[in-house]
Amino acid sequence: MTGTTMTRPRRGGKNPTVGKGRGVPRLLTRVAVFAVIAAVPPLLFDDYWVFMSAQVLAFAVATLGLDILYGRTGQMSLAHASFMGVGAYTTYVMATNGYGPAMQLAAVIGVALIAALVVSVPTLRLSGMRLALVTLAFGELLAWAIRNTTDLTGGTQGASVDPFLFGRLDSSEPLHAYLIALVPAAIATAFAVHLGRTQLGRRMLAVRDSELAAESVGVAVARTKVTAFLISAVYAGVAGWLYAGITGFIAPPDFDLFASVYLFVAVVIGGAGTVLGAWLGASYVVLMPEVFTLAGQPNLYPIVGGALLAIVALVVPDGIVGLGRNVWRRIRGVRGDEEESK
């Protein structure tokens, strides 16, 4: 979350010292909460839902990345799933050439960075719709490239990816897949939280809210946008690597424009600009289609997704997280008033 460490008002605002001695206990609390929630699927769910939970972990890495680009920096990308595709197909190509998951991951990060540089540097000065259009073109280009390189990528038929093998862990086992995905998801989350405490993270917020104000204090606006784009692309690439290893099968529709739009919807519904929102978004994007499938109405998902986006955009622009924060503030505000009047 964009520096919840810093943004959250202190209870009653009593202690006037700024930001001292709040870091370590809060960090421990967060790690504990993360650990407790992470322990739920393996302890309580059956194999199928553990498998879905592993996918949530993979998609969380993707939404965290998109949140850095859109939620924090205010730049719209319609190619985030394409960057997942870059990661997934790089994983596939590396795997078919006999490289293990660690080498795959290194290659994924490298290729994602190069692809992101190629897309973002020429579009440095673009923003808003124009950047969105360029990312759209990149997505189409990738889809075309995959379709026309059947020998290398499996083309429209998709491709089976070998499971990850880390020692005794084998990602074709749902529980193992979950445990493997937990590590990168936790690291990605830690970096996203940490980003909110850095000047780099603040530059992004400044660029999102007022480029003029950002420049007035010396922020390099274009460079900040490119940095955000690179970070988000690496996140997407890592998510694609996880997705390929966990599901064991990838195909172009997994990474097409619709997939990108769903990721975008996920971030907005969860709450743009917050780490928690990105996680809620990931849960939404993985579990919602399942819910509709279970209800026997899989075709309703896109429609309901669109309607939900419209409702969120109109009624709760800060998403689920913003809604929760407002409710919490109201509850606490009442209590604070009582304390104040004593």
């Binding site: 964009t2 520096g3 810093m6 943004t7 959250r8 008002p9 202190r10 605002g13 006037p16 010292t17 700024v18 930001g19 970096f191 940490h194 980003l195 405490r197 850095t198 000047q199 780099l200 603040r202 530059r203 917020l205 400044a206 999102r208 809210d209 007022s210 003029l212 104000a213 950002a214 420049e215 007035s216 204090v217 010396g218 922020v219 390099a220 606006v221 940095t227 970070i231 600009g273 800060d318």
Partner: protein
């Protein structure tokens, strides 16, 4: 030229700014004394904000030059001028509304040497040193401006006067040598104005700088500024001490529409 405190003087030479056919500034040559608080006055459309924009690099200059100390900064962009020590506030408050006061102020530390993006992202030791330094600077400024208790509040929860101060804090946090404030008292009530003047005076004593304040309020200018420049219709009109400038007949005509001596 610099004073002992290190604050440079600011000079423009033959500055002309055009918006299409309209000349917003015509051949303006002014010199703002080093280490002083100068007031920039004039009726609406006099070119006060344009002059501020030209000095801070927000407006392209058609002719003329801008100098900070001995350095000609005419060719520098906004960002480079900021890094060179020229930092401004805006007439309309431009803040990150959904972020905390502290975050808004910390953004202003951009001018201080920051570790590269990778070092920041990976939380290398240089990042922690920079963070401690920035937090110390922000804490000092927030204390100075009386905002310490609001440090963790979201900006959009604050009253207008406090939001103004947050913007001033963002400007001040990196101790720039040239501070340009565009109507910092706009929208404040009488009490708020006096408080702001007191705060700016206090800031100026603690961190010597060359401060330029665009302001309408004659009393505020008189109490805050030791030097005043009057503009009218994009041209230089008069400069000097507040008493000299406000006592000037031409200034009174341009500013009050009559040569009255009500305030003089």
């Amino acid at each position: 030229m610099s004073t002992a405190s290190g604050a440079p003087h600011v000079r423009t030479e033959g500055l002309t700014v055009r918006y299409g056919a309209f000349q917003a500034l015509r051949d303006v040559t002014v010199s703002l004394p080093a280490g002083a608080i100068s007031g920039l006055i004039g009726p609406n459309g006099a070119g006060k904000t344009t002059l501020l924009n030209a000095i801070s690099g927000f407006t392209p200059i058609a002719e003329g030059s801008v100098h900070i100390g001995h350095r000609n900064i005419t060719a520098l962009g906004t960002r480079r001028r900021a890094l060179a020590g020229v930092v401004r506030g805006f007439q309309t408050v431009r803040l990150m509304e959904r972020e905390s006061v502290l975050t808004n102020v910390l953004v202003g530390t951009e001018r201080l040497p920051q570790p590269n993006a990778l070092a920041q992202f990976l939380a290398l030791p240089s990042q922690w040193r920079a963070r401690n330094r920035d937090m110390a600077a922000a804490t000092e400024v927030l204390d100075l401006l009386g905002l310490a208790r609001q440090a963790h509040r979201r900006v959009d929860e604050l009253p207008f006067a406090s939001r103004r101060l947050v913007e001033v804090a963002r400007v001040l946090v990196s101790s720039p040598s040239v501070i340009l404030l565009d109507e910092p008292a706009a929208g404040l009530d009488q009490e708020g104005r006096q408080e702001l003047a007191a705060v700016l005076t206090r800031v100026h004593e603690n961190h010597p700088s060359t401060m330029v304040v665009v302001e309408h309020d004659v009393d505020l200018v008189k109490s805050l500024c030791s030097y005043v420049i009057a503009l009218d219709s994009g041209a230089f009109l008069r400069d000097g001490t507040p008493a000299e400038v406000f006592g000037d007949r031409q200034v009174q005509l341009a500013y009050f529409g009559r040569a009255a001596s009500a305030d003089a």
